[in-house]
Point group: D2
């Protein structure tokens, strides 16, 4: 990445396009509407609530990210998207039952005006849902063209100067990455041939990149992490980031595991179960979709703990993850973790973490941050994989040959030092010996 000389200001409105307008997307949209009217706080969002230390500790320079960066403002956001069900954002939010009656009432008219465009959908890739509001086309190349047309119409209709897109749709079945995914030309050919290995998410990706719309992928799908998409993003100057929002249990895991590793405590077993009752839980009740999710969920521990480097500590770790559809809870999911650890001389200890969280409440601020940071990245001239946004993902994208970083604290360090570097500030290493001269 080349450091920009300067970053142009965020002029005009920013369109936020959401493929998949369910609980997460509508919680994000409604919340942003509430926050910009001052009716609720955008808790959980680094761009809205965060600060950044600059220079030496004794300088006491700690601006907010709002002050430090030329970010788009909440008041300038326009919302759009696609879904395979026709309900508007108000109806969907009511059905999702995440937000209170009071909150929805306060923005109900504005919310009702956010209506999804028909979605691209392939029932072979999401088995538990039956779309009723879907695009029809002769082949996938035509679907890509329809999505591009949707973007152009959205731009014209709303008058936005820039767009970003955040996938908030369902988990697709575990993808096959084959020959068709290797090159731009090969992928274009496969689209024309209606290749069954191309899921809907990749159609959106292709269309959006071609329309110069930065993309963040909130699901474990291989939406943008295949070679052809990365190449196209570099070619078109589009930043991309993914994949799978890091919330709930996996967030906790990338907090706790680095902590145990910091102290060189061993781990013999980690058992994780989740109970949740929303549409996400229903989709993941399908074993194929679960396998896709399981892959990103299981990967984080290995990524953090590096068992190949710490055999005595993590070489025999038995890691099991379960997701259980449990309707009594709705969106209020619960993750229960049991960790069997061992310390000095091998003596066993245990830790239990019970996280009574809310799926969409944790995910919504990530949608906002990714929208604003991707827009910033594009204005700063960055393109292709944005490793510094790995902070937000269960399965962060990284350059070929690099192992993705899963440690939440290293991810945060990378994100903040990237912002310092973009603004010409000194990076921070926490060495600090100079205070003791």
């Amino acid at each position: 990445m080349k450091k920009p000389d300067s970053i142009p200001n965020a002029e005009g409105k920013l369109g936020v396009l959401l493929p998949g307008m369910g609980a997460v997307a509508t919680t994000f949209v409604a919340g942003t509407m509430l926050a910009r009217r001052g009716l609720a706080a955008p808790i959980g969002s680094l761009t809205q609530m965060g600060t950044i230390r600059l220079g030496k500790r004794t300088d006491h320079r700690v601006p907010t990210l709002q002050e430090f960066l030329p970010l788009a403002q909440l008041g300038d956001l326009e919302f759009g998207g696609w879904d395979i069900f026709p309900e508007n954002a108000l109806e969907t939010a009511e059905h999702a039952a995440v937000l209170s009656r009071e909150h929805l009432d306060a923005v109900k008219d504005e919310l009702a005006r956010v209506v999804p465009m028909p979605g691209a959908f392939d029932p072979r890739h999401v088995k538990r849902l039956q779309g009723t509001h879907v695009k029809k086309a002769r082949h996938k190349a035509e679907l890509v063209e329809q999505i591009r047309q949707d973007v152009r119409e959205f731009r014209a209709r709303t008058g936005v100067s820039r767009c970003v897109a955040i996938w908030c749709g369902s988990t697709e079945v575990l993808p096959t990455i084959n020959g068709a995914h290797q090159t731009i030309d090969g992928f274009e050919r496969a689209l024309l041939e209606d290749d069954a290995a191309i899921p809907a998410s990749q159609l959106y990706a292709w269309a959006l990149i071609k329309e110069r719309v930065p993309i963040a992928n909130g699901a474990p799908n291989a939406m943008v992490d295949f070679p052809a998409a990365v190449a196209l993003a570099r070619e078109c100057g589009v930043p991309i980031a993914g994949k799978d929002f890091k919330t709930g249990q996996t967030l906790m895991k990338t907090i706790v595991a680095p902590g145990l590793k910091a102290r060189m405590l061993g781990i013999r077993g980690w058992f994780s179960t989740n109970i949740l009752g929303n549409r996400d839980g229903e989709v993941l009740d399908d074993p194929d979709s679960f396998r896709c999710k399981e892959a990103t969920k299981l990967g984080v521990l290995e990524g953090v703990l590096e068992p190949e480097r710490h055999k005595a500590l993590y070489g025999d770790l038995y890691h099991k993850v379960r997701i259980e559809y449990y309707p009594p809870r709705g969106d209020a999911k619960e993750g229960w973790d049991n960790i069997d650890l061992f310390g000095w001389l091998g003596y066993p200890m245990q830790m239990k973490v019970d996280f009574l969280c809310r799926d969409s409440i944790l995910a919504a601020p990530l949608v906002l941050d990714l929208a604003l940071f991707l827009d910033l990245a594009q204005r700063a001239g960055l393109s292709g994989i944005q490793e510094w946004l790995g902070f937000y993902f269960k399965s962060p994208m990284a350059a070929p040959g690099l192992k993705p970083e899963h440690d939440l604290f290293i991810q945060l360090k990378k994100l903040k030092n990237t912002l310092r570097w973009l603004r010409g500030e000194e990076v921070i290493s926490h060495l600090g010996h100079e205070y003791y001269d």
Copy 2:
């Protein structure tokens, strides 16, 4: 701190002096004896199990700390110390019931030879214990002299070339830092006047620094963090570090709190209770000793979360910490935390962390690391407060005017970057934009 040109190798034997030879100290001593015979692994010790990444990620240079640093070897350690009870280390370890019969049997003769010297003790500062193996003297200056004499005799008897000391004794009552603690001369005068404000731990500190022995303080006592001690340490070229080993619940807190803060999740309440049944629990059953402990336990959240900077998130946090003496558990303590957090738009969530841990098992490897790192620091010519060892403490010492850092991950970064700096390697900032050129 001035970077040393080079660090002399660890020639000869290293004496490890332990004021307070109870469960923690004997678990450390027995474990080191087992580890150096290959009978058990020193899990939890960074110096023994840790690695360090050097250079770029693509360089794949990740030596162990053993390879990277000229540390003293386990085989070269000699153990000594003081206690107010006369039992030898074998008897004490048996009574503490931390280690298994098998483990103790394997090193029993060696362990039985570690016999404490009589302790300095003031019953006004530790109320629940009645020492039976204590020094007698006309005033505190004479006690300091007796301790210095003990150190000299230990050196002569064992033939060690260097010594370090780690306080593993009980928590004293909440200390008063008064005029007598401000200057070297003033403190020396107060010793002669037998000032009641000087607890036993400070007598050890004074004697050890004068004998050029680096000190780490594992309890919340003000053993070395008062101005006169810091000045004496600088004057004598002695590194010091403290205070209060960060284990169990507080360790978890400085893992979880930075994680929630990283994501700008708000916290309304944090309730922590501990049940433990060892001598530590008995001492802390005294309200005055508990107040001393409570101070270091409560401080960490404020240190990590910076409520003054994040009012909307942490301004109203209600933090309560309880320690309950509960004999059925012995040394196997349990910390239960309830965290009331809130996210997007203020929606409440909860987290429960139940840590079924073992007090001495978590503390013992810290004793080892601190011994080896302090010895390294002294050979590297460092003196005074070693902020980079704050990783190990609930209440880290820092230069006047600096707020102590409590975030475990920043502490680890500082520790490792300090080691890189000492060895002339590049510090790591996790910026990494160059991989994307």
Copy 3:
């Protein structure tokens, strides 16, 4: 007790008098109003939701308690009471924040009309509250007379044919039962002498019994369990019951402990902590009030487990109970229990119970059941201690010489068999050998 020939029907209205109109009382009143309009279900109430098996299993006779017993109907209840703060039941319920806006709105006018009469109050007995709506009198005998006058006026104003009273007020400090409490005459004398050992709750008790109003005592106070009160109740033909509603953690304890004992599993330790943030929590933050509560909370385990009879299993049980005032929770209290048990050959096991409950939601249906059952008892001619209502209390009253029964399941058996006996049905012993002839 003598079985009645028949029980007169519940003619006319029943007045429910509530000394102490805080969160519990108003949740009960509002809930009853909602339930009788069909707007919410009186979950947790045996009288409203319960059934009772009669005869043999193969008879399939299982009427509801409503069908089986001539109970007063919800539509016939009239509410009144006393409090030391002047707010009406709507205001108090709003402040308590137990019930939703929707629920309160549905009965707000009716609720606002329930206004407390000024309370009898002695600040020496409840230390953390400052009453502003209190009776004034020369001595306690006069206060008793004022309360009697209140009852007579309530009867006249509302036209009720019968009254019952349920203490829903605060916990007073641990009471002294002295000479004044032994006989009716002695107590009357002490009232005239303004004896400091008589707390407010006993003034209500004396007045209510004299007015022939049955009493249930929901707090750990010695409201009616002293010899003079029992004698007066027998003399006046008034049923009485107490003490301290069994909800939350103690309820769980009398469920789990009988289960472990049923299987002869040993218990070495039981640690219980509670966090709650309502007025109850505030009052119990005072050590004297806590000691009163602690007594009833600690007693249940001994009552259930009979350590004197099962030394090997429960002789060394270490039982510790803590209540922590923790404002973030309000009325939504949480009880966390750790149980250290042991089985076959002494091998240790553990159980953790985390009960995220709601104080007033658990207590309100008990108020309703006790009101209806006490009224039934009085119509059935019963008087004095009603041991069969021990089901509802942490510290059940029993005849002199009998140990109170704490096992929830024996209590339920006693309650239901008493109802069968009252109605001339066969008691059930679960012997059932006849099915195998």
Copy 4:
């Protein structure tokens, strides 16, 4: 059942035959050997530790069950059994790693002499195991005959006067009960025809009943609960009981659910997960075996809560049970339950129960009690289904037309009242109005 005039004393030795000699069986055998030498206490056993109240409370007659009943003594037990692996009880116990080295050493010679006879085994019924020590025969009738021969030889070899048998083997796949299971003749024919629907457990049952050996079935298999077996047991005068030992999570469920129901608290969801790492966990990792176990595990809630009778409270209960094979734990299994309950007006509450238990430690005393009670029953002239032993089982057998009772407390009441009735004592109903005359 007909009450016996008197019960003959337990003369001579009692043989305890164990089909399936794994962790549970060897923990029982070793523990009994330790207990009869006074080296450990038979905690968890009602016959060894229990007491029984007789007459009125004020009589203070509470003998131990040992005093009250003519039970066989521990010193008179002889152990035998069958397994599909040839290891003796010492080897198996060592491999199971349930008991400590010290405990095994104390009885090692005696334990090593308990060697299993070759087992009857059908790999179609237990899929994850490969037996190496199995009987060979032309058809199942011949296998039955071989087992009978084993019993006769065991009697001759040991000189026991009576035998009982307790199935401690693995869970078989969900059984088919078909025409062959309806009558004694039909079943005998099916044995000769080598009917695939007859699992190994039923071969043992048939042989044992014919040898007049009472049987308790500790697994969810249909070992004795099919019409032909019940008929044969009545015909031969043999008491039988089953099925599936109630330990761990299901035990907790039949403790907690009756408690919540006693108070008419509603339940919307109950999620249970188990982690365990022993052979039992391995067998249950096979979906077919799990389905068999799941059936008995799911049934208990419906049995206790009677949703058909309490629709508003339990009509919509969502109950999910998971068993997860998790090797780090071995025999020390953990059951985590989340209960979503609701109270007054429908307000939601939650309860979490985390039971860190030990599979074999909980099961072993049940084996002992069942052996002694079945022997008592046979001497008392009882035969066929022993409903009063339902206390010990997840899925209690009951007379046709009766719903099995799952409430642990009603089961205990039935057990104790049956013992009182057998001994001519008054049954206890907890009515107790006479104390208040």
